[in-house]
Symmetry: C2
Subunit: 350 residues, 2 copies
C-alpha cells in the first residue's frame, strides 16, 4: 500500500453481491479521491455461479494473488436454496471459510448500532452501540470431525471445536484494546463454560489474564443463552462482546436483527498482524430471491468499506462515509429506493 | 404408577427453587385431588447448597432412588455468581446434566406461547405458539473434550460434539409426531449444516427420512443464526422446532425472552421410552439475588407441572391448571404479587 493508492481486491460473488458491491466501490472511490488516493481494483470471479461454470471454489493461485492486495471487499456467496447442483456448504467452507482461515482473519469484527429512525423489532430498544469481536479462525468452525457408519442406524457424527491459547489470547487482547478506546470501556465474554468446560475455561482464564493489562477496562461474563435474552431485553448493556466463532455467528445475526436488520450490518475479517490482507463483507447473504432487481440495500456493504478504510488507516475518508450513511439512514421515510439510488445518495452526501 | 396416586420426586434445589416448587406442588396437589388422585411426595436435598454442606452432587443411591418414582419435579440449582467456593459448572454437570443423561431424557420439550397481555419486548410480536423439541442427551453437551498443556501459551482445549443416528432419529420422530397433532403440522429443523457438516448432515438426512413417515407434516430448515433473526422478526412462523442440545439451549432462552420472560417458560426433560422417570423444571435458574423474598414468579414451575401431568396421562388435570394459568397471566396488571399469592390465585381458579 502506498499513501496515494489502494490496491483493492473485489469479490462481488453471487446474488445481490455484485449490486451492493458496485455501490460500495462507488462510494469508496469518491471518498478516497477526495483525499488524493486512487483505488486500483482487481475483480475476482468466485462463488456458487463460478463453481457451477468451472468447478473451482478457491484455487491456490487465486489465493496467492489475493495476498498481493491491500484488502479484499467481498459481496456475498451462495446458491439459491434448493439448488441441488451445488453440494450444501461447499462454497461456504471451501471459499469463504478458506479465505478467513488461510488469511488468518482472527478478528471477525461486527459493529451493531441502532440509527435513529431505523426500525428495530424491539418496542423499546434504547441506545444500541456495541461491537462484537468474534474469533474467526478456530472453535467449532475448524472443520474437524467425521462420520462413522454413515447412513446406517449406527452412524456416529462428530464435530470437534479446537481452541488454542494463541488463538484465544490474540482475539481477547484485541477486544480489550478496542474497549479501552471506547467511552464505556467494558468487555463482556460470552461462552457456555458451565457445559463446554475445556474451551470455556480457556476463554475465562484468558480474559482474566488479559484484563490485568487493561486496568481501565471492566469486564463481565454471560452464558450464550443469557446473552441472547439480554440482546432483546437490554441491548444497551453491551459495549464490546468477545466470543468464539460459533457463538459470535449466532449473536451477530441476532444483533443485526435488533438494530434494524442485516441490510445494515457490516463486518470485517481482520488479520490484525497484517501478515495477509483483511476482508470486509456485509453480514447478509446472497439473497438470490431479490438478486438483479436493484432491491438490495447496499448500506451493509458500504459500512463494510468504512471498516476497510479504518483498517488501512484512511480514517478521514472512513468518517466521511460513515457520516453520510448515518444521515441517509436516519432520514429514511420507508419509501423503497433502488440499490443504486441509495448508493448515489450516500455518494452525493460525502 | 397407579391410577389413584402419583409417586412424585421433588427436587426444590437452590435459590428461588424451593419457593416456586412449593407453589407448583400446591397447584398440582389440588388439581389431581379433584380427579381422585393423591400426590405422594419424596423430597430430595440436592444442589449447590447441599454440595457446600456435604460435597455431594448426585450420589448413585440417590439416582437409583429417583428411578423408583413416577416423575421428578425440579426447581433450580446453582450458587450465587461469584461464590468461589463452588467450582464453576460442577452442579450443572454433575447433577442437572447427569440426571438428564442418566435418565435418558432425550426429549427436552420447551413450549413457547405469548399470552395476551404479557409483555413481550417485541413491538409487534403477533401470535406466538410453538414448541421446541431440543435433543437432551448428546451433541456438544456430552462432556467429551480435554485440555492439553493447560495454563501454558501452548494450551489446546477441545470440545467434541457427539451425534448418533439413534439419538437424532428418536428426537426427530418425536418432533414430527408432536407436529402431526398440532393444527399447523410443521417442523423446522435448526442446525448449522453449512459449517458443522458431519453432525448437520446426519440431522438433515434424518429429518428427510422421518418426514416420509408423516406425509401430512411439512418441514423446512434454518441455520441457527437465521433462526435467531426470525425469533425476533417473525416468531409466528414457528410451529415445532427440532434442534440439537446446544442450539436448543440458546433458542429456548431467546424464545422465553420474546414471549414475556423466563418467569413463564416451562420445560420437560422427557424419556419417551419410559425406561426412567422424566423430569420437569422451569427454564429459569436459581436467581440467588431474589431468593427467599417471595419475589419469584412460580408460573414457569406450575406450567412445568402441567407438562408433568400430560406426560403421566392426567390430561384433564393438566388442562385445568393450564386454563387457570392462562386466566391469571392474561389478567395481570403489573402490580407485584408474592410467589405464594400467584400460586394461591392459580390454585383458587382451578
Ligand atoms: C456463510 C457462513 C459460513 C457464515 C458463518 O457462519 O460464519 C455466515 O453465517 C457469517 O456469519 O458470515
Ligand atoms: C444450567 C445449564 C446446564 C442448562 C443447559 O445448558 O441446558 C440450562 O441453561 C438449561 O437450559 O436448562
Amino acid at each position: 500500500m502506498s499513501a496515494s493508492s489502494i490496491n483493492l481486491a473485489v469479490i462481488p460473488g453471487d446474488g445481490i453481491g455484485p449490486e451492493v458491491i458496485a455501490e460500495a466501490v462507488k462510494v469508496l472511490e469518491k471518498a478516497v479521491a477526495a483525499e488524493g488516493v486512487t483505488l486500483e481494483q482487481t475483480h475476482y470471479k468466485l462463488g456458487a455461479q463460478h463453481w457451477l461454470e468451472t468447478g473451482e471454489t478457491l484455487p491456490d493461485e487465486v489465493l496467492a494473488d489475493l495476498c498481493t492486495r491491500d484488502a479484499i471487499l467481498f459481496g456475498a456467496v451462495g446458491a439459491a436454496p434448493g439448488d441441488t447442483r451445488i453440494p450444501s456448504g461447499i462454497i461456504e467452507r471451501e471459499m469463504l471459510l478458506k479465505l478467513r482461515f488461510s488469511l488468518d482473519h482472527f478478528v471477525n469484527l461486527r459493529p451493531s448500532r441502532l440509527y435513529g429512525t431505523v426500525g428495530s423489532p424491539l418496542a423499546d430498544p434504547g441506545t444500541i452501540d456495541f461491537i462484537v469481536v468474534r474469533e474467526g479462525t478456530e472453535g467449532p468452525y475448524v472443520g474437524n470431525g467425521g462420520t462413522l457408519r454413515g447412513g446406517t442406524p449406527h452412524e456416529v457424527a462428530t464435530e470437534v471445536s479446537l481452541n488454542t491459547a494463541h488463538g484465544v489470547e490474540r482475539v481477547v487482547r484485541d477486544a480489550f484494546r478496542r474497549a479501552s478506546e471506547r467511552p464505556r470501556k467494558h468487555v463482556t465474554l460470552v461462552h457456555k463454560h458451565n457445559v463446554l468446560v475445556f474451551a470455556g475455561h480457556l476463554w475465562k482464564r484468558t480474559v482474566e489474564a488479559v484484563a490485568q493489562e487493561f486496568p481501565d477496562v471492566t469486564h463481565d461474563y454471560l452464558h450464550i443463552d443469557a446473552a441472547t435474552i439480554f440482546m432483546v431485553t437490554d441491548p444497551s448493556r453491551f459495549d464490546v462482546i468477545v466470543t468464539d466463532n460459533l457463538f459470535g455467528d449466532i449473536l451477530t445475526d441476532l444483533a443485526a436483527a435488533v438494530t434494524g436488520g442485516i441490510g445494515l450490518a457490516a463486518s470485517g475479517n481482520i488479520n490484525m498482524d497484517r501478515t495477509a490482507p483483511s476482508m470486509f463483507e456485509p453480514v447478509h447473504g446472497s439473497a438470490p430471491d431479490i438478486a438483479g432487481q436493484q432491491k438490495a440495500d447496499p448500506t451493509a456493504a458500504i459500512l463494510s468499506a468504512v471498516l476497510l478504510l479504518d483498517h488501512l488507516g484512511y480514517t478521514t475518508a472512513a468518517r466521511k462515509i460513515e457520516a453520510a450513511v448515518v444521515a441517509d439512514v436516519e432520514n429514511r421515510d420507508g419509501k423503497p429506493r433502488s440499490t443504486a439510488a441509495i448508493g448515489d445518495a450516500i455518494a452525493a452526501a460525502l
